[in-house]
């Protein structure tokens, strides 16, 4: 459902100038928030691995 909604939005973006700004804003927001979450999660995993490795020593 989300994919079809996004696809419809991308198709409309090519027809209307305002949609270009809308899609850019939505993709940018999604990328920033998802990127921050993934980076934080990866750093937590690396840190927890290091902590458990040092506990095992």
């Amino acid at each position: 459902m989300t994919t079809s909604a996004l696809f419809a939005a991308v198709v409309r973006a090519s027809q209307s100038d305002a949609w270009t700004y809308v899609i850019t804003g939505w993709l940018l927001t999604g990328a920033v928030v998802a990127g921050y979450w993934l980076r934080t999660r990866a750093r937590i995993r690396v840190g927890e691995t290091r902590l458990s490795a040092e506990r095992d020593q």
Binding site: R12, A18, G25, R43
Partner: protein, 248 residues
């Protein structure tokens, strides 16, 4: 595990995470498809479903930073927990302020005809962004936990002065940016119906995302502190081992 190592109970965190995902999916459906275009702004209105909640979250995140900083400064409530909460919330606040500025600029181009205007609301928001960027830079300066915590807390409280200035800038000065819309009873064209519902879904989804990310960033701060402490102990051991005279 030390109870201070986690901000939220893991079960509560999972519930908030699932709620955030459902909220974001609902926001995509309503914001890009379900909500009708605005009579005057057209499709560009859909950017406000991101711009408004980003701005709200920026205010909220900096309020949390200010409260946590005040609790750290107060000797009776002083705890490293509050310093970590303040830092984590400020980082998220900077991200949401940055998004507010960029998405607002993307909305401004088709509606105002310009990417940027030297308008009181825009300028004070940009100042807010740089103030807290400076606060995050200040947090990276090393030192003992109490003195750095106090320094960070004072800086956070000073920076927070800009938040009410940003909020009331549209009342105090004549601005291109519109005045308050959602809670403004004097406004003739009020937001209502599916557009209002979409805006509330956006605010709820962004708030859940903020709480989830705050918990994750707090957890990372705990891990970073423990690793830094271990690295320091290790360095002291190596140094005293190399130089038997040191540490006697």
């Amino acid at each position: 595990m030390n109870p201070r190592d986690q901000l939220l109970d893991p079960r509560l965190r999972r519930v908030i995470g699932v709620g955030a995902v459902i909220g974001v999916v609902a926001l995509c459906l309503f914001g890009l498809w379900g909500a009708p275009p605005d009579d005057r702004q057209g499709e560009a209105m859909r950017l406000l479903y991101l711009h408004v909640p980003s701005a709200w979250l920026a205010y909220f995140a900096f309020l949390v930073t200010a409260i946590a900083s005040a609790l750290f400064l107060w000797p009776r409530t002083r705890s490293i927990v509050w310093d970590r909460v303040a830092g984590a919330s400020a980082e998220l606040g900077v991200i949401f302020t940055g998004l507010t500025l960029v998405v607002g600029s993307l909305w401004g181009r088709p509606i105002w005809g310009v990417w940027w205007a030297w308008d009181a609301r825009l300028v004070t928001t940009a100042v807010l962004f740089f103030l807290y960027l400076g606060y995050l830079a200040l947090r990276r300066i090393p030192g003992d936990a109490i003195s750095t915590g106090k320094r960070n807390a004072i800086a956070a409280l000073i920076a927070f002065v800009d938040v009410p200035i940003v909020h009331f800038s549209v009342e105090w000065w004549r601005t291109l940016h519109q005045k308050a819309t959602v809670f403004n009873p004097e406004l003739s064209a009020r937001i209502e119906g599916v557009q209002a519902l979409t805006l509330w879904i956006a605010v709820l989804a962004f708030t859940l995302v903020y709480v989830y990310l705050l918990d994750r960033r707090y957890r990372l701060a705990v891990i970073d502190d423990v690793l830094a402490e271990q690295a320091l102990e290790q360095a002291i051991k190596i140094r005293t081992g190399d130089n038997p005279g040191v540490g006697r």
